[in-house]
Symmetry: D2
Subunit: 256 residues, 4 copies
């Protein structure tokens, strides 16, 4: 892989997670700092009006439009695992991707990527039949739509096998295990709260394609996109710090 | 208008109105007899799995795939009028059209038309701001998507003004008023239950571009598509009778 | 009516309007200042967990527990009028009242009152068949449950005729018309933003049972409860100012 | 236990599983043959109008009114397991029980029992924290409400420990394992389709408090209520056969 490639990275963020009268997130503040928006599609958040406004905001900021499909669980914000069949997963993806694509089309844009939300993201990442259904869905959407998934996961391997464009996602602010998986949230070090440390982890992922695990092991990771947690208080400050450092080191930020 | 044009008509039918464990309609029986399917999109009926299966059924029968968007009212089957703004209508159309288009795309097909469901159909037909939003939505969907609306309604005039492809819908089994509007359901003669009479009304609409009102007046109507009520017991029999008569008179049945 | 009675008033406020991951209102701050809580019941806001917490908060503050039933419209926050039958209204009330009553019972308390939300409140206030269904529902709930409705409305007259306990609601911060109805929101003076003016209007309602209309006419009103708009920035400050003035004048605040 | 007690059994059936325009079940046909109705409460089926009608039907037939609470999953008919916390389960039970109790009260009746639906029934049966939350919910509902749960399950033990009235449920038409649990649906013999065999199993449960497992072992079971699967074609015929046999043997059918 050429050096040029290692010098460009995508910054993605979940967007459009308001619903009707309820507001969530600071979309307008965060949007200028990212390259990919994962837009809620109505199943955990994101009523039609919110999708339209979020797509518009993305277009105005030159940000790539993705769909952020979820299990059908408005009441639980898509955070509760649910036993669904691979076919049910496939159907959920197509439906929600289509809905967001409708607004993208109406705004003169295109659907760029799919990144699952919450429990669906975690459930499908390392489940073979669900990963398979996921890859099949993105393939059937066609049009060059890219699958964003956990770097090093079964889903990424699945996408490769199906010939589906896919990009591995890394987390600057999450601790990693020796096998390259995320440390469970309960564990000490699972969340990285110091900005400097998170920036350093991001840089290592981009420049060296590695992450240092909680127990100190250097692990290879194939990260094409970094996740920015937009619902956290310091999201904008962190995004700025990250981009400042990237600029200083000649790393570009753009959607894959 | 040339004679050839008067010799082709579209037969449309609402489809995919099951939901989860609940079944409705006889889609598999009706589909072979129509040329356009209006597929429920999840807001009054039509969960994602049902949409997928209905799209597949349409593709297998060479039937044009339309979306049948509704007010958000699963509990009321989209039959209860709801005070929504033109912008809300626009958003509802784009969302639901996109969702069905997603399944069409995944099946190698395209979204062909939009026909509103239930209360939304009636509310928007002769309301200027809603008709306007409707036309704007179909225009923004682009790709040649056609708007099906009540023949002679404000919505048809609106579509014309916006340069949106539109087709007027006629009803073989509904009584008409002198001004070309449908007789309210309570009124005597509002529903035409004799097959022969309904077939005759359909023929007049297609061949002479007229309908005879309940009080006997011949009224001009611009009908490009006839609505088949698929949820009625005799739907298949009526469709066959209609097509037999059409064939006998050299009238072709195909989607616009 | 004795002077003692005119010296007691109820302060009610809509409560529990969060939903799942989304927060709304400052319930914990407002609760200590009111005597009646109208708790959202899941149809425009208020998931089961939120109802439970809000009921607990009311119990802890000695506040009467009411249900705040809505049209079924989470996406529109119950603000969009919907054409429902009187029977549908009846069913919506019983269902939502029962649900909140379940939590009240589990907390060792009782359901005290019913006050409709948003579009349902306005639709039913002066519609005879809907008001009738409303009164019938509250009667069937039994157990002394009280109906809160717009003072002077058809609904209040209806409740009286059905022998249903009912209390008229007044608004300190809304302008009134000569016939005792609320000035439409668009109209100049419809919203009273000066605290002193709103306090004065509240006092006149409580002490003199009158309100001065926007054109200066003194109109009789039978107000047993005042509505506090809890979602407005100055809600707590206004509640305190009101209660300070009430205390100074020997007016008690308690639920009917 | 005295002989008299072994000579009375409850027949329960899931009821009110229509939703809006969609019909399910043959409630009016089945109701005369059962003693307990488990009424869907809006989360997997059962809109408010359906609940009202079903409660009325139960009252008219002298059938005890129970609630049939579900995970929040209309689209999946409550059949998909969902990872919920014990507190979430508690809240779901109170909400749905309250809603059905509201209609019971309005019809001059009372809520008699709680029996969970679908995935919730299975998830909670042998999960200690969920069973505990279940027992706590039924206790907090108070008023003598009875918990129906899988005979011999953790939930039954839990209810006993909490001092909650509880009744074990047996299945005439399901195969059992040596440990008294139900044979998984995939397994040979899991479903008993011959009427005579199912009647015999019911009789053994009632008269001898035993069931013969698929591998031939006689297992003790404490069954106070038998489940009738109302959605199956032969439901009414089976209920009649069962009751004929019960009558012949002096076994009464009544709610606990």
């Amino acid at each position: 892989m050429s050096q040029t490639l290692t010098r460009t990275i995508d910054l993605n963020c979940d967007m459009g997670e308001s619903y009707g009268a309820w507001k969530m997130g600071a979309d307008a503040e965060v949007m200028p700092h990212i390259s990919s928006a994962n837009i809620a599609a109505g199943f955990h958040a994101g009523d039609p009006a919110t999708i339209r406004k979020t797509v518009r905001l993305a277009v105005d900021n030159g940000v790539a439009i993705g769909v952020h499909p979820s299990l059908p669980d408005i009441m639980g914000f898509g955070r509760r695992a649910m036993k669904i069949s691979p076919q049910e997963l496939y159907d959920l993806i197509i439906y929600q991707a289509g809905a967001v694509e409708g607004f993208a089309r109406a705004a003169g844009a295109k659907l760029h990527h799919v990144k699952c939300h919450g429990a669906l993201y975690n459930m499908a990442a390392n489940d073979q039949p669900l990963s398979d259904a996921m890859a099949r869905a993105v393939k059937d959407l066609g049009g060059g739509v890219i699958l964003y998934g956990l770097a090093g996961s079964t889903m990424m391997a699945c996408a490769k096998r199906h010939g589906v464009p896919a990009v591995g996602e890394g987390f600057a602010d999450r601790g990693y295990m020796n096998d390259g998986t995320l440390a469970p949230r309960g564990q000490a070090g699972a969340l990285i709260e110091q900005e400097a440390k998170a920036v350093a982890q991001a840089l290592a992922m981009v420049e060296q394609r590695t992450v240092t695990s909680l127990s100190g092991k250097r692990v290879a990771v194939e990260v094409g996109t970094l996740c920015l947690h937009g619902d956290q208080p310091g999201a904008v400050a962190f995004a700025k710090a990250l981009r400042r450092e990237f600029t200083a080191r000649g790393i570009g930020v753009s959607a894959p």
